[in-house]
């Protein structure tokens, strides 16, 4: 009995909570699939099996928090991963902090890293992505840019990042038009932007509602460049935007265009490995950025766990502390989205290698070098 319990405790346990149902499930399901691919890719760390426990938070932050508590208290996981939305991830991180369990977030987080030293995220910070867009605008000779985005925190975040990057680049942001995710038309907002005659338009939307400005701008015959951000890298966006999205430039993690990357690109090999294993495990190609985040979080965890295992036995509070310290000292772990270096006092671990600019061309993302 004692031996059996000891053997069970020796396994590493990963607790994943994502939105498998509810409005966020179009993100949550790929996250879970990516995690299954990661488990198949690296099922053992230092000869120890890794056990993955997946829970559904139904797109509800308070359920995500309860899931985190359940994973820690009932399943005794060594690490938390999740979730598909920022509020749900923050709720999980809060529980992780209380229970002294490290967490790797899968979406950007709105947290003070000094206040919660138990969490990091594999997502790119929004500013890093928007900086790449502004650099591209500058290269394309854009002097004035109109902005249209969601009338919510995502729209604010993109607008803020755009302003911060545009001023040093000598680009003037001439409008701040907003619309709601549920809106049917943005004709009014787009007319206002077109009347200002900007060189380009930046959009701050996500998913299918993010296609609305592209459709309206195309309808009004806008000739300048239209730029997006990584919230739009999604097959549903392509489906709804159709021809109107053609030629749009936006930033993304390099995994989306892995095949088109130059051979020496640091993440190319890992991204191709990921695509192969994802295809094998899920019997379908990976078409989104989300499953790759799960894969990266597993790689970061595997690297940290192999270093932490020398210090303590998995399943114990000491191990969780050692694992946290190991994650916080991650050095040059090559993932699919970027190369990870985590340090205390910062949530994000990627640099400029974690972004490329892609162009939507005939319904396909093409690397825009």
């Amino acid at each position: 009995m004692v031996i059996a319990a000891g053997a069970a405790a020796a396994d590493l346990k990963v607790g994943l909570s994502v939105s498998l149902s509810g409005p966020n499930s179009s993100l949550g399901i790929p996250y879970a699939k990516g995690m299954q691919a990661a488990l198949a890719y690296k099922p053992e760390i230092n000869g120890r099996k890794v056990q993955l426990i997946v829970l559904d938070d139904a797109s509800d932050p308070s359920t995500a928090g309860r899931n985190a508590r359940k994973l820690i208290e009932d399943d005794k996981v060594d690490i938390l991963m999740g979730s598909s939305g920022v509020p749900a991830s923050v709720a999980m991180a809060q529980v992780g902090k209380e229970a002294k369990t490290p967490m790797i977030g899968l979406s950007p987080l709105a947290l003070d890293p000094n206040e919660n030293p138990w969490v990091v995220t594999v997502a790119q910070p929004p500013q890093l992505m928007i900086d790449a867009v502004v650099e591209r605008m500058k290269r394309n000779g854009v002097k004035t840019v109109g902005y249209i985005g969601f009338s919510d925190s995502w729209g604010d975040l993109v607008y803020g990042a755009l302003n911060k990057a545009a001023e040093p680049a000598g680009i003037k942001v001439v409008s701040n038009e907003r619309y709601a995710r549920a809106d049917a038309s943005v004709t009014g907002q787009v007319l206002k932007i077109v009347a200002l005659r900007p060189d380009a338009v930046m959009t701050g939307g996500a998913g299918t509602p993010g296609a609305l400005p592209f459709l309206a701008l195309a309808e009004r015959g806008f000739k300048g460049g239209v730029y997006g951000q990584h919230g739009l890298i999604n097959p549903d966006f392509i489906r709804v935007a159709g021809a109107a999205g053609s030629g749009a430039l936006m930033p993304t993690g390099p995994v989306i265009v892995a095949e088109q990357l130059p051979a020496e690109y640091p993440t190319k090999k890992m991204a191709l490995d990921f695509k192969a294993v994802f295809q094998k495990v899920n019997n379908a190609p990976s078409t989104d950025a989300f499953s790759a985040y799960s894969f990266d979080s597993w790689l970061v965890f595997a690297d940290a766990a192999s270093r932490a295992m020398g210090k303590a036995e998995p399943g114990t509070p000491e191990f969780r502390v050692a694992l946290r310290d190991a994650i916080m000292s991650t050095k040059e772990v090559v993932g699919t989205h970027g190369v990870y270096n985590f340090k205390p006092g910062s949530l994000y671990g990627v640099d400029t290698r974690a972004r490329v600019i892609v162009k939507l061309d005939n319904g396909q993302w093409k690397l825009a070098p």
Binding site: G22, P23, N24, S25, S26, I148, S151, E177, R178, Y179, A180, A182, D183, A184, S185, V186, T187, G188, Q189, L191, K192, A195, G207, T208, P209, A211, L212, E219, D236, R239, V240, G242
Partner: protein
């Protein structure tokens, strides 16, 4: 704002107004005949749009399962009530009407899904597929309480909306869809201003359907029965009009309108599982301007809502809906000042 911009916004508003006009007609029709504020109206429109999108992408819309389930429930309710009243001879007719008739569009939908068929067939089937939803839902949930107070009917209708939009999420997922345009090309107005064929189609449909509505109410027996029921339910019964029958007709007509709205707006709006609610809500504002009884006033209200929405999105995109719904305040104030205070609802006689 220049004249061009005003013209573009005006036409955009007119196209939106046309949609709200059709939705408003449906809401007024159901309310005047049955006293139900039919909140799920927009959901039915969304189901039509999303079913059409499913056909276009080669999937079988889950709407088929919904219609069949509803038909089964309605059939059980109907047979049970007939059996209780001992009218066993009418059961075969009920089987035909509540069971077989709704199953026909399902069969058609099942037959064309996954096959390349002309767009017109897809559209016709998508509309036909949602037509049974409203009458079936009403048979199961609203007819048994047809004599309850307006408030109770409203609460049930609201619950039906949540049920349908939840099912919509389950069936079609959280992401939206757009369908191919019904009409290509554009007409150039004098002054070089383009008017897209789709917008013309929307406006024309609204005009033609309103005219058909008018003719039906003026010239047909069924239309006169609907009007009679709307004016005075008890009086209509006294002259031999069965409220349950006219209610059924109203639900079928409204459902048809909802289906047409769905396929008309799907190419110009990204439809989500919950998009119907906002369409319904704005049509409700139009219907309130018409006092929930007057068709002409509802039409004017719908055009006003469309125009206000369009211009509001130019002045302040984020506050657009706030401005539209604020329209209700002066309208309701004026109505309550002008209205003669009618008696509280008189007791209805039993069916």
């Amino acid at each position: 704002m220049t004249w061009d911009v005003a013209l573009i916004l005006g036409i955009d508003g007119l196209a939106n107004g046309a949609v709200y006009l059709l939705a408003g007609l449906g809401l007024v029709l159901i309310f005047s005949v049955t006293r139900v504020v039919f909140v799920p109206f927009g959901d039915v429109a969304a189901f039509a749009a999303l079913s059409l999108a499913a056909f276009e992408t080669g999937r079988t819309p889950a709407t088929i399962g919904l219609v069949l389930t509803l038909a089964a429930l309605a059939l059980i309710a109907e047979v049970w009530s007939l059996a209780r009243r001992g009218e066993l001879a009418r059961i075969p007719r009920a089987l035909l009407g509540w069971g077989l008739l709704p199953a026909l569009p399902c069969l058609a939908a099942w037959a064309i899904s996954g096959h390349a068929v002309p767009a017109a067939v897809r559209i016709a089937v998508a509309v036909a597929l949602v037509v049974p939803i409203t009458p079936l839902v009403a048979r199961v949930a609203l007819q048994p309480i047809a004599d309850a107070s307006v408030l109770v009917l409203l609460i049930v209708s609201l619950a039906l909306h949540f049920l349908l939009s939840g099912l919509g999420l389950l069936f079609f997922g959280p992401e939206g869809s757009r369908t191919g345009p019904l009409a290509d090309g554009a007409l150039t107005l004098p002054g070089g201003f383009p008017l897209s064929a789709q917008v013309m189609l929307m406006i024309t449909s609204a005009v033609v359907l309103s005219a058909l509505f008018f003719l039906m109410f003026e010239r047909t027996v069924a239309g006169k029965a609907l009007r009679a029921t709307a004016v005075n339910r008890v009086g209509a019964r006294l002259v031999g009009i069965r409220p349950a029958r006219t209610a059924l007709l109203a639900y079928v007509l409204a459902s048809l309108l909802a289906g047409l709205i769905g396929v008309l707006v799907a190419p110009v709006m990204t439809m989500y599982y919950d998009s119907g609610f906002l369409i319904g809500l704005k049509a409700f504002v139009a219907a309130i301007i018409g006092g929930l009884v007057s068709y002409p006033l509802t039409a004017i209200g719908a055009l006003a809502v469309g125009a206000v929405e369009s211009f509001a999105s130019f002045w302040s995109g984020a506050l657009k809906d706030v401005i539209v719904f604020s329209l209700l305040i002066p309208v309701l104030m004026m109505r309550s000042f002008l209205a003669r205070h009618a008696e509280e609802e008189a007791e209805e006689i039993d069916q």
